[in-house]
Symmetry: C2
DNA sequence: ATTATAGGATACCAATTGGTGTTGTGTCAG
DNA sequence: CTGACACAACACCAATTGGTATCCTATAAT
């Protein structure tokens, strides 16, 4: 029962706009404590903390305690999975809609 | 109140694994009716239909009625937004963790 | 020592999500 | 015409999500 709940889908982690903003903030600041992140949002500290937990479970952020504050920093590596996934489908928009439509026209004759 | 609910975040659309499987199935089959898609899943037809609606709202699939069946096909173009988003962060995993750790070491001295 | 700050831990809540079953309608086949 | 099929449209439900407020501990500043 005491399993690690460290596994979280990267896709669901980046699904939330708040989480994407957090990723962006962390990308331009190297390392930030919770408080400094919270001020950028209109929601409370607890909510931001929850989002950070989800990002942590997806491996997208790392945290370390420094004195009384917990500093968060970005770990972009898991985003590679997203890139790989979407790269597979890039061929479907580079060989364009036009060709697809042609095929469908033919089929209907 | 009768606004079009056509706007749906692409990020949330691809967050669900079922939806990603649907995208994959459609990518290799050009065009498929709901029934042919449903047989690949252990859930009911209604559930699959709902997922397809979400994909439609994100612009990721298009549908057309052919006789008594509704055929769905992939429209990969909106995935470009994902690619653009993730491409921005690719620099954070190419200039690697090592460099980041170096910076943090220095900071602590 | 006292007080203020940073944040973890809970408990709680409303809204959304992901699924179900049912019903109704248009279409294809005998 | 009749029955089977493909699907949309609902109504409904449990679990999850995204947020809140409250309480508590640890650290920092005076």
């Amino acid at each position: 029962m005491s399993e690690n709940k460290l596994s979280r889908d990267v896709f669901t982690a980046i699904a939330d706009p708040t989480r994407r903003r957090l990723i962006h903030l962390l990308s331009e600041a190297e390392e930030l404590p919770l408080h400094d992140l919270t001020v950028h949002f209109s929601m409370g500290r607890t909510a931001v903390s929850k989002h950070l937990t989800i990002l942590k479970e997806a491996g997208l952020v790392l945290d370390r305690k420094v004195g009384r504050e917990t500093r968060f920093r970005l770990n972009a590596a898991p985003l590679r999975e997203i890139q790989d996934w979407v790269a597979f489908y890039s061929k479907y928009w580079s060989m364009n809609m036009m060709r697809l439509n042609e095929l469908l026209e033919e089929e209907e004759t």
